[in-house]
Symmetry: C2
């Protein structure tokens, strides 16, 4: 005989579960509008506050987005990579996750993407990538730092798209949105060095020399990896020093 716990996690949780089910079974797809809060509360037989808490948590986890106003309401969302950054930030601050792990994961995924590029290197892809590097070069020369960084990050996204695999694109997106935050915190570097390695990488790609491209990217990312780990350690130390002084 197996008894199931009753309401173990609170009402708002079971409300969220019900709505999630609707979405998971594709009875509702991104863009669809959920009933308004008052109707939901009535249908589920709970108070409006409970519905609100459920919707709020679902908003945070990227299941729905909420807009206010006359045409507002809760809409099924397709997910928000940005919320990842906040959670990752917390994990890193409390040492559950290290910079080391983050950049290592980036290295691994990126190299996997390059491997997946086999047989998919088209002229269109090459042109897109070249345009990106040209733009990045211009921004670097003009000293427009933030835009330059965005452009450099975009390069990796384009590469992922080139693999033709949506999953890799999504994972890359998520990783990049987290890394962007890291760069903001630790400071970006090596402006022209990035451009240089890009051209070498692209040259290999153009010649269909995947191994060469791969090792160039590996070299580049590993040097970035070392830099960030060091910068994070240094920042750590100054924070500790400041804490001790106080």
């Amino acid at each position: 005989m197996s008894l199931t716990p009753i309401n173990s996690k609170g009402i708002f949780e079971s409300i969220a579960a019900q709505i999630r089910d609707l979405i998971e079974t594709e009875e509702m797809v991104p863009g669809d509008k959920l009933p308004n809060e008052r109707d939901l509360a009535a249908q589920l037989g709970v108070s409006r506050h409970a519905v609100r808490e459920a919707l709020r948590t679902m908003e945070v986890t990227g299941w729905v987005t909420m807009r206010k106003g006359a045409t507002g309401g809760a809409f099924v969302s397709s997910g928000r990579p940005e919320v990842l950054t906040e959670i990752v930030e917390r994990l890193m601050q409390s040492r559950e996750l290290t910079v080391d792990q983050l950049t290592e994961a980036r290295l691994i995924v990126e190299l996997a993407i390059i491997d997946a590029l086999k047989g998919r290197i088209s002229d269109a892809l090459l042109e897109t990538l070249e345009n990106n590097v040209h733009e990045a070069e211009r921004l670097t020369n003009e000293g427009r730092d933030a835009e330059k960084t965005a452009m450099n990050i975009r390069f990796h996204a384009l590469l992922a798209e080139g693999s033709g695999n949506l999953i890799l694109v999504i994972v890359t997106d998520a990783l990049m949105s987290v890394l962007r935050r890291l760069v903001e915190e630790l400071g970006s570097v090596m402006g022209h060095e990035v451009i240089r390695t890009r051209w070498i990488f692209l040259e290999h790609l153009r010649e269909n020399e995947l191994p060469g491209a791969r090792s160039e990217m590996e070299r580049h990312l590993k040097s970035l990896h070392r830099y960030y780990v060091e910068a994070a350690a240094k920042k750590e130390k100054t924070q500790k020093r400041r804490a001790n002084r106080a």
Copy 2:
């Protein structure tokens, strides 16, 4: 001249921001207890419900955990990696993924994880994996299908954990979860074949023969890949036929 929007996101957001600041500046560390909801509401001059919404979102994002009861309350947390899985899973699920892309991505990520295992193969890891396969073998023989599948999926999660990289674990978890839904739809297969390839894989791992292990896994996953793509195509066809008939 740049004007900043006022209160664009509501009161609960600024409450959350204030509390986050307290935690970020390390005035509060994991384990510390926040004031109770009534006091917080009074101190901030807002309603208790606003405080609750703030705390709820912070719970989801891993800043605090909440317990109920006499010694309950909101406590500073060190983060919850599981939410990341949920968000990544949502990102994957909401896109129009093909079976092909899913299993290909699984192949890519899994092989990358095996590469990342270099220098990390411990006796403890081997033992954990062996236990998993033993269990899976038992469940397979007993015909307990659902549990067998769960155990087989768990193997990949354990492998990811063996890489020592939390990011890879999260990506694997999300991927597996999406994949599991697919398997439920298409039906699982090859019970004993999976066990066989597992033992071969582990044997390579035990001998520290990473390339051998890698190619065995590659062979196995590629055959799975073919099977699922085929099964999906077949299902597609019967659905079309059924649709035409109607």
